[in-house]
Amino acid sequence: MNNRFKLGNYSLYLMLLPGLALIVIFNYVPMAGLAIGFQQFNPTKGLFGSEYIGFENFKYVYSLDDTMTVLRNTVSIAVMKMIAGLIVPIVVALLLNEVGKAYFRKGVQTLIYLPHFLSWVILAGILMDVLSPSTGIVNQFLGLFGIKPIFFLGNPSWFQPVLVISDVWKEFGFNTIVYLAALTGINPNLYEAAQMDGAGRRKQTWYITLPGILPIIILLATLSLGNVLNAGFDQVFNMYSPVVYSTGDIIDTYVYRLGMINFQFGVATAVGLFKSVVSFVLISVSYMLAYRFANYRIF
């Protein structure tokens, strides 16, 4: 008995090996490269030849005037995106779930999923036209109500909402599908029982549907917390301009301009490390909270 189990375990461990090797080689070994963040890194001298300068790179980034603005923008854009990106798909999924006609539901599902596949390079070009103050369809529509044209992409106070709305529009279809999948997992008997007790549609949603998909909501929310310092490089980079730096410049675009391409790998690595540490702390905390309040755990 014992022997057979052990044998079984060995072969399982053996099957685990390739995956483990991949993780070690591609995820753990490169961590040695974090040393670059503490070096005056010269690419041609390499990791071992470059001079160590301690926390100089971190101090340098900290000393720059714009760093605090950039950090604030990053967090505010990312948090707004996280909240909107959590609520919108849930609402849409619940609404779609109430729709009886399958072809309508499937049609909507496909349509809202489509923008997910377009890159920001393309979408930024489209948005520039759509939001144009002179020829854009949005401003022409607003014009019907006597509203003066708004230069959405060139106005610091409009830029963040534009980022958040366009990002949610692009991505909410994807998460909607996840929630719809979770909805199918709810036991139909519960709804029948609720109907017997005289619960209407709204009560059913509130007391059965929502609690039914709560674990998935918490899972997605927890995972998205790791992105609190990722405000979306491709999106911002393709849409921003010096006029909206005050509200639109984020860590990634700032580091990029600072000289990613000027061989300033030391500074870039230092910022990357900082972002990773913050994300790690946030994910750990949210995981603990999820465990405590929703009894959700991975391990």
């Binding site: 010269n42 992409l153 000289g259 391409i261 000027n262």
Partner: protein
Amino acid sequence: MSKTRTKPLLTVCLALTFLVSACSNSKNADEDNGASGNVSATASTEASASASASASSAGGTASDPFGKYDPPISLSTFRCMNDAETYPEGDSIDNNVWYRAYQEELGVKLTNKWTVSTAGTTCEEKTNLSIVSGDLPDFFPVNTKQLKTLVDAGLVEDMTEVFDKYASPLVKEAYSANNGVAMTAASFNGKLMAIPGTTRGLNNVDMVWIREDWRKKLNLPEPNTMDDLLNIIKAFVSQDPDGNGKKDTIGLTMGKNFYDGYAGLAGFFNAFHAYPYSSASTSMWVKDKDGKLVYGGIQPEMKPALQALQDLYKAGAIDPQFVVYDGAKAAEAENQGKAGVHFGYFWNIGWPIDGMAKKNNPSLEWKPYPIPSADGTPAMVQVPDPTAYSNIAVKKGMSHPEVVVKMMNMFFEHIFSENAEPEKYHSQVVGDKKYGYFNYAAVQGEHPEKNQIAFNAVSEAMKSGDTSKLGPEQKLYYNALKAYKDGDLTKWGDDRTWGPEGSFSVLGKYKDNKLIKINEFLGAPTNTMATKGSILMDLESKMITKIILGDPVDSFDQYVNTWKQSGGDQITKEVNDWYAQNHQ
């Protein structure tokens, strides 16, 4: 940062594909050089023939500029190509007329380790990656910044001797033009560390392109002073130049990159004797009255220019969307006939102005003008970097460093010499497709003033009617000009480039009157430039954008202080040290 480097390059490539004109022939170079050019051409053909006939040992005859390798050698490189590049059926960047010629004429089997697009920063990043990982081919194109890194690390061959020994007279002549300025950026402590490729020369300077038909319609005077020009710009918005009864035109077309060769602002600032930064990260350094080098972008001359821009914006002559538009996007208004003035380079006829557009709209007319001056002193136009766009570096320890020089000789031989076959090696129209063969060549170069030389030759021939002195390609332009004169409107683009009102006539005026201001600093980026340079450029474009949009012009003073404190003073010191070292 890299955007600033690749954008102009990309646009130039585009322009090159649109205009045969941009890549002309340096027949005049031969003329200047008298017989030697011709002798070299014939001698070299014989030499290469004899070399291949005698099947001499590997390496060919000693110091034969066209010697063939027997047995053949295999070499590798990498390429950055324009996405729009087209190839004849069956050909590719790995197998094309040039690669086959390398094999047949030089005995060099050339393979590309990789090929990426010139769009965005891909090329620069991929090249950086190759340098960092040490995965270098036998020879490869690099920019000055990358070359400096390679030289510091001792990863590239010293080319001084090889160049002296193997370069053909035609190549040597081309590289000694403009006081040999093309070589400056590839030279470190007097040693040539790479072969400079296609040069910027003195041609990439601003001029102002104006919708001539609009100007005439509104009875406005030619822009002889900056006030004239500002009036034209304002009138193009307020006086309905397109005559459709709607106020839907833009005065001055601008993009978000003020330093680009299309819809940039360098020319605008130059009119006020101000010299802000530009596409080259090392620019723009001018001499102050004490002979010290100072940065152009922080001088007080900037202020009146900024004020004028702000006034234009307030008058509604600038589309506020310029802040998000790149060149291509900014060009849309112009191509829809909604904009009439922009600052740009000679190749703007071709891109973004369609050289064929007059065929569909015969009343359309664009005319390039020299930059007018804001005061009595003639305006000078800035050349941030007359050195090479790219340099061909050879990996340290490569057994045949001379092969790159030979390939350069071959390029000149097949495209610029007496025996040139431009239809085979430069470009050709087959059916409705145009192939720019010259872009396939792994090593490319040119005489920095070849276009100007062609312009002079063609103008001369147009006057005298004597075409005997024209080279094969100059003849092409001549024929196009003749055809345009006889009413062929498809040749409008050639007329605007090579004709008496064309863009090269404007460049000629600059050169004849010595109105070109070359950056005083031509070295590789200094240490502080490398670490802080991009922040400072960022500051400057932010400052310019904000002042145009309405910040007080006096915020310029604050920018100057920040610039100095954020590394600018240190850079100034390094630049002056470089100058002292190189100009004793």
